[in-house]
Amino acid sequence: MNAKHIFAATLSVSLFALQAASADPLLGGSRNSFGLLGGFDTPSAYSLPDGVIGGSTFFGAGGQRHSFAFQISPRLTAVFRYSKIDDFYAPGDALYDRSVDLHLKLLEESGWRPAVAVGVRDFIGSGAFASEYVVATKTVTPTLSISAGLGWGRLGSSNGIGTLFGDRPTPSVVSGSPINYDRWFRGEAAPFLGVNWQVNDKLTLKAEYSPDGYIDEVTRAGFDRASSLNVGLDYRIGRWSSVSAWYLYGSEVGIQFNLAIDPRNPPFPSGIEKTPLPVAPRPSRSVDPVGWSGEWAAEPQVHPAVQAEVAKALAADGMLLESMALSATSVEVRVRNQTYPSQAQALGHIARVLTRALPPSVEYLVLTSVANGMPTSAVTLRRSDVEALENSNSALLLQNATITDALAVSTGPLRPTEGVFPRFQWALTPYVEASLFDSDDPLLADVGMAASARYEFAPGLVLAGSVRQKVVGNLDQSTRVAGPDPVRSDLADYQRNGDLTIPSLTLSWYSRPAENIYTRVSFGLLERMFGGISGEVLWKPVDSRLALGVEMNYVQKRDYDQRFSFLDYKVATGHVSAYYDIGGGYTGQIDVGRYLAGDLGATLSLTREFANGWQIAAYATFTDWPDAGVDDDNFVNGIRLTIPIAWTTGKPTIASFSNTFGMSGDDGGARLSVDGRLYGTVRQSHMGELYDNWGRFWR
């Protein structure tokens, strides 16, 4: 329910799951302890291949570093890190920290020219690792590369060559911004050097001259920095992972485990779901003159009988026929796809089922996609095309398909399928909730059972809720203290209560008042921390890259026992949003409005989405929340990663894992977390997504 909460544990499980998936050699080469390519403390100018997601976890000298690297574009890498610095405050009192880096490749290697990159490490907030660098890397022989660069901050903290761009302010003096850009490339600069020798397919040896003085570690924790030289080896295990070991600073050792996953290299690109039903071509006119005449349409029993057949075949294929209109020449089916991550594939199955069930005179097939009870898009196909083009180049059929708003087609009265509504579904599942590498609560987790139920009165009118019971865990031992007037920072107060909580219980109504317009109203216990009413309107033409939305909520803060009582705090919160499908798999979103604490501001998000369902979304929120000194409450950012389960297993399912990395759980810039927001609901069956996935139509 609380989408912002960090479940690093879940992600590590899902990344491990992918081990069977990646068949390519280990992606991206040997990494440093910060999760980027390089030596130990120093980077190289190289970056991971585009789209690749890396994970690395280091244990050793000075603490732990657990980094997730996202190659957002061919040039830009973002890294999120959970770290522990031993004895930071006092012997036995470690610093648990989260940090963010950006690495930008400026020049590709070409001829004599080396690759050149620039980066900022741990550039938000307190900045225990804060440093900046410029680095150049050249491949000297096919197995040997050399990197040389200049570092600032921690990477300029020993053997410096002087101050190039002025003094480094301590502490950061940027007012109203948590990004310490006033310190970037300031203060003492120091050179660094790295050498990387790939001995064979498995083994890489590396050495670096590091300018990181480990000043705090030496003074506070007795770190023995006897040398500036670090040496290490990287040994590949299988094709997706490696182990690194280092001898560091003449006195210390460290070990690291690395993973790399390429979303564009699924184990089964075409999936291993069972074969679809084949097209059944129509008999000739002479064989079935009655069927071709259309006279059957006057018989009242035909439509229900055909509908029952279609519903049965679709149900066997994981889809739900909500309603159907049938005339002598056309059919419209309104279908909920509960199985296939690609809507185009679902449409291909529906079209083939129809060729097997409909009388021959029906030529126009209108396939209407339904999401949360709302008819979204209508794809009109000619049955003759489906027959003639079965299993051929899918683009040929797309040329003859018409994609329109579902409300723009008129095929006659829709007859609801018998026995579909009201519809009741339930599930009983175990859950894990964890709080990891939080500065107050480094390792807390609960395990328990969750029961959820969903009752649909009619298409679009849904009562849904869930109940959770903790079985074992230590989240109740959290020592975290909430902010003065908490809206999100009191998460621990909610987590302490694990007995029979109600994470959500809502009545929602989704509808289509007009073409291009979608609406949602949700009422009840909307999320773990807030209850009230939430309303949303979305304008999204089926063929438009642009969508606009307004969301208004009036909510009251729920009591910590997470049942039916409330605290005093009430707020009206809401946003005006613009969404734009930039193309090339990128979608941008801007939300402007009032956040949960009453603060005003905006959120910018950029999502990179692969057609196979992987999503990497980076977001940043800026609000007028009063700057509370060391807190970074007026700026929230993070990366949300979504991994489609179908990608990992090859079996069709619309389920996915989603994880958020970043600075969250603070009071400023917090948004309501309500289920069923319209843009994500509607988009999948609109033109852009259908075109992108059309290659699966005949799958």
Binding site: P269, T275, E390, S394, S452, G695
Partner: protein, 236 residues
């Protein structure tokens, strides 16, 4: 329970809870949970690695003849014997659908192989499927038992759900007459060899074509990942 005991028991209890299968009618929720469970199972399996998994081999696999005879007895429609060489698997496939010159044969494993005039047009359910293929030009030569050169295209899905074509230049040559016997039935015809070149590689397929111009048996190349399949008609 003392606090120390509670603490030591906690991982066990947590593991027990997580090992419970999710259940219910809401597949979207239960599948995620069950998959996560499967993953943890896999990880435990990795830790306990070292055991042989080969003991699942059936003691006496039926011969192709036995498979064919059994299928001919239990299935009335058109049948083919199929061997997927990369999987080392021999089974039968039965006619599942027919659309013009295109026949969809389904395997018991609910995968399918789609032939157009006996030439591979598509596969479904193998993970690296041929999504579609342009086979008309090679089919014209093969069915007429004529030598010649023709173009052929097979398309595969990439991870972005785009059909990627693999264009091939093929030469077709007539070879000896041949026949085969399976489950007591004899099929005879002319062998046609098709050698297709793409990106510096060549793959060779072979077809046994009857006097009437019908492909009776073949060994055809599906793609880089799946390799070759062998098909033999049991009942046309």
């Amino acid at each position: 329970m003392t606090p120390a005991l509670r603490l030591s028991a906690a991982p066990l209890v947590a593991a027990l809870v997580l090992s419970l299968a999710a259940c219910g009618s809401d597949a979207g929720k239960t599948e995620t949970s069950n998959l996560a469970r499967g993953l943890i199972g896999n990880m435990i399996g990795l830790v306990k690695a070292g055991r042989s998994t080969a003991d699942a081999e059936p003691s006496a696999a039926p011969t192709p003849d036995q498979i064919a005879a059994g299928a001919l007895e239990s299935f009335a429609g058109p049948l083919m014997l199929v061997t997927i060489e990369a999987l080392g698997k021999t089974t039968v496939m039965g006619l599942y659908g027919e659309n013009g010159a295109m026949r969809t044969y389904a395997l018991p494993s609910e995968q399918s192989i789609i032939l157009r005039d006996g030439i591979l047009a598509a596969t479904r359910g193998f993970g690296h499927d041929v999504m579609s293929a342009e086979t008309d030009a090679v089919a014209a030569l093969i069915l007429a038992r004529k030598d010649g050169a023709a173009a052929k295209v097979q398309r595969y899905l990439d991870s972005e759900n785009v059909e990627r074509p693999l264009p091939m230049d093929c030469t077709i040559q007539r070879a000896d007459k041949s026949e085969y016997e399976v489950a007591g039935l004899t099929f005879s015809g002319t062998q046609m060899v098709e050698v297709c070149a793409f990106q510096g590689q060549t793959v060779a397929s072979a077809y046994l074509v009857s006097e009437k111009g019908v492909v009776l048996a073949s060994r055809q190349w599906i793609g880089p990942k799946l390799g070759y399949i062998t098909l033999q008609t049991l009942r046309p």
